[in-house]
């Protein structure tokens, strides 16, 4: 029982990341009809927004420390962050410590601008081209973006920790009456799940309860009719691309304390997120979210030692296995609209 609860918890945070990326992918596919293989790169750029802000906040000037020497035997230089000079050591250190949550504010405008530039500068030229062309150009763009990041930040992972207040783990086992230490779960992963739920809820509320969202939903259902009503649906769809980029970026920002960001992290999530979209149903926002959590949890269960003993290697194929079964039995996905992907 403990093992099951533990793997469900594990699946929730992994599923949160899948769901957030898949949500953005679905928004773009549902509005613009574009299969965006650069979406993983947007997740990665979001993570590097956190790295960048963390570095900006840590900008320092050097002070010679005559009491110490460096590796060459010269007087050692100590880096003193400017924020410490401006706000005092305690407040300055706290600001640096909270770099990741603060990056949310930094990443939102950056990601929206990147998304809009990407859509206006490149992707709009491929609306009427076949999906294969869209995949090729966006995949190429993803590689270019990751090489740019590698050029500026290097190939090694860059540690970007959570604030000190959120280190350590919560003992769910003790709370549920099990032995202590049996069901533990890091605080930051709980926050990541809550954050993902908030973003997903926010996007749904935005689409459901605002006029802008209503027009976008109408455009997704019947673009031509909406245009005939004199509404500039293209401009709204461009903004939706920016919003999808921001969702992916925020998923990346908050993921940085879970795994140190590196230039390749977007690719690691991209393929799995596409599988999530297909399983959930192309164009279905609830489907993307549900499939994200479902596959995250399944992946966690498949990684259990007890499962691997009977089915070696199942952890590496479980998601694809589910995708094959879904595509064979229900081509439109779990919650896809009838007719989509079924011809």
């Amino acid at each position: 029982m403990e093992a099951i609860i533990l793997q469900v918890l594990n699946g929730l945070d992994k599923g949160s990341a899948y769901a957030l990326i898949a949500l953005g992918l679905t928004l773009i596919f549902g509005t613009l009809g574009v299969v965006n293989f650069a979406h993983g790169a947007l997740f990665m750029i979001g993570a590097f927004c956190a790295v960048t802000l963390s570095r900006i906040l840590s900008l320092s000037h050097e002070v010679l420390d005559p009491g110490k020497t460096d590796f060459l035997g010269n007087p050692s230089k100590v880096n003193v962050p400017y924020v410490n000079d401006w706000f005092g050591e305690v407040a300055g250190s706290a600001i640096i410590d909270w770099a990741v949550p603060l990056s949310i504010l930094f990443a939102i405008p950056v990601m929206i601008v990147i998304g809009i530039v990407m859509e206006r500068g490149l992707i709009k030229h491929f609306y009427k081209r076949p999906h294969a062309d869209q995949i090729l150009v966006t995949f190429g763009l993803a590689i270019v973006l990751q090489e740019i990041i590698k050029y500026f930040y290097g190939a090694n992972p860059i540690p970007t920790p959570a604030p000190q207040a959120f280190t350590g783990s919560f003992d769910f086992g003790a709370m549920l009456g099990f032995d202590p230490n049996v069901i533990i779960y890091p605080y930051w992963r709980i926050i990541y799940f809550a954050f993902a739920a908030l973003i997903i809820g926010g996007v749904f509320a935005f689409l459901q309860f605002t006029t802008f969202g209503m027009v976008v939903r109408a455009g997704m259902a019947d673009r031509e009719t909406v245009q005939l009503l004199g509404i500039d649906i293209d401009r709204r769809f461009t903004l939706m691309f920016g919003l999808a980029a921001a969702v992916a970026g925020l998923a990346g920002v908050m993921y940085t304390p879970i795994n140190s960001p590196n230039y390749h992290m977007g690719m690691d999530f991209l393929v799995l997120s596409f599988v999530v979209v297909v399983v959930g149903g192309m164009g279905s926002l609830p489907g993307a979210v549900a499939a994200g959590f479902l596959l995250g949890i399944l992946e966690s269960f498949a990684s259990m030692r007890e499962v691997l003993e009977y089915l070696p290697g199942i952890n590496q194929i479980i998601i694809y296995l589910v995708a094959i079964i879904i595509l064979l039995t229900r081509p439109r996905g779990l919650m896809g609209r009838k007719g989509v992907m079924e011809e």
Binding site: F71, L72, G154, P159, Y185, S260, N262, M304
Partner: protein
């Protein structure tokens, strides 16, 4: 009248043989003029530096290249001479190798065996490289070593830690300065027993490829011999990024030690996840829960940040060593580049120097003469104390460093502290235990 015996079948056979002959790369065919592959005939000699310039180990590759450039500078008489001043062999004079100016070409292994073989082949065939060196993966090292054996050039391996490189996959033309999984296990186990006791239950997470298997086996064998029990060993996919589902069940298993047989990005992520789960704050079986990383790299430790604090592992070399060779190399490298060298830089620099020295002592670039000069070669002053290039398997035997993540680092380079320098005798093993045959040296002609 002449009678022709040419039949249709015969014509096809002849054509096929001729086709295969023409298609065979020139490096695999005998040359009628040269005594061996890429015999240098002009005033210069070309070395091939095959390192990861792209992909996940690109930063390690960049440090390897820096070291090679420094080695070439020193070999050609530039700079402060670096380790040539402390090297016990005095064959190198700073006038190139055998009086020929040292030039170099570089290849990008991408940390992929096929790409690494292609770049090595290109450097040998097109650029005339007489020796190939570098790399940051055992898979790549084994693949390139086999190619160099076929091509008839010497391969001086870079970072490769699997037992197989000088075990079942060893080749007469290949030489490894880096230590291996067995040595890590042999060096680590006594330190672990001293610090954590002999009554421990270990849980292994192992990267699902050759290096992971040999490292797990080495650590298991060494720790079990001291009384530890192995509770479980779980293989993790090489492509795994989030290890939470593998780490969460560790406490349920009753284990009180987690051994992460991971390297590179795998190590950074699994260690970060394990620390996030608060494993090190737990008390299991009335003992503090501990984590072990058998193979440390300073560049990788940097990626894991503060999570490495207090965690034991082993490493080939560290810039904080105080012997004359290490100090000379740190000074030389640090002055040129502004930061201390990594173990990757040290190993590759030393490999370039050892090759050049062997050529000087042999008086020839002929790979068989060079191999003979390296086999059984004992030297000192290169940063690891007295070292032997064992003739039987071309594995270097030297002291192994047991290190621990530093609690209070003073800089971004000051991440590891040396806990013990394990003497060579303690990590030496019989050359036959890992199987394989060196075979005969191939000069390529």
């Amino acid at each position: 009248m002449t009678k022709s015996n040419l039949t249709r079948r015969g014509l096809i056979k002849t054509s096929a043989v001729a086709g295969v002959g023409l298609a065979t790369p020139t490096i695999f065919t005998a040359s009628s003029v040269a005594a061996f592959t890429n015999e240098p005939t002009g005033s210069s000699v070309t070395l091939g530096f095959n390192v990861p310039q792209s992909g996940p180990y690109a930063d390690e590759g960049a440090d390897e290249l820096r070291a090679y450039e420094l080695a070439v500078e020193h070999l050609n008489g530039g700079g402060d001479g670096g380790l040539m001043n402390t090297f016990s062999s005095k064959a190198l004079k700073g006038n190139g190798i055998l009086g020929k100016e040292v030039k170099y070409v570089t290849g990008d292994t991408q940390t992929k065996s096929d790409a690494a073989r292609a770049s090595a082949r290109s450097m040998i065939e097109k650029d005339g490289a007489v020796m190939i060196t570098g790399g940051s993966s055992s898979g790549v090292a084994v693949a390139v070593q086999a190619l160099c054996q076929e091509a008839g050039v010497i391969f001086m391996a870079g970072l490769t830690h699997s037992n197989d490189t000088t075990g079942k996959d060893k080749k007469a033309n290949g030489f490894r300065h880096f230590f291996n999984s067995y040595m890590s296990g042999a060096a680590l186990a006594p330190i672990l027993a001293n610090n954590y006791g002999t009554d421990r239950r270990a849980y292994h997470l192992t990267a699902d490829y050759n290096w992971g298997y040999t490292t797990e086996e080495a650590v298991r064998t060494s720790t079990e011999a001291l009384g530890w029990e192995t509770v479980a060993a779980v293989k993790t996919p090489l492509t795994q990024t989030d290890f939470s589902s593998y780490i969460a069940p560790v406490l349920q298993s009753g284990a009180d030690v987690l051994v992460l047989n991971h390297y590179g990005g795998n190590m950074v992520n699994s260690l970060t996840n394990a620390v996030q789960f608060g494993l090190r704050d737990k008390l299991v079986n009335n003992k503090n829960f501990e984590i072990i990383v058998p193979l440390y790299s300073r560049l990788m430790a940097k990626g894991a940040g503060a999570n490495v604090k207090g965690i034991y592992g082993s490493t080939n070399w560290h810039w904080s060593l105080t012997d004359e060779g290490s100090k000379a190399f740190v000074k030389s490298f640090g002055t040129k580049y502004g930061f201390p060298p990594s173990q990757a830089a040290h190993t590759t620099y030393v490999q370039a120097m050892l090759y050049a020295d062997a050529v000087e002592r042999a008086g020839s670039f002929n790979p068989c003469a060079v191999a003979e000069a390296l086999e059984g070669f004992e030297f000192d002053g290169m940063g690891n104390g007295k070292t032997l290039y064992r003739a039987e398997d071309h594995q270097c035997f030297k002291d192994v460093l047991v290190v621990r993540g530093k609690e209070n680092p003073t800089s971004e380079f000051d991440l590891l502290e040396i806990v013990e320098v394990t003497p060579t005798e303690q990590v030496t093993y019989d050359a036959s235990i890992f199987g394989g045959e060196l075979g005969a040296c191939n000069p390529g002609a």
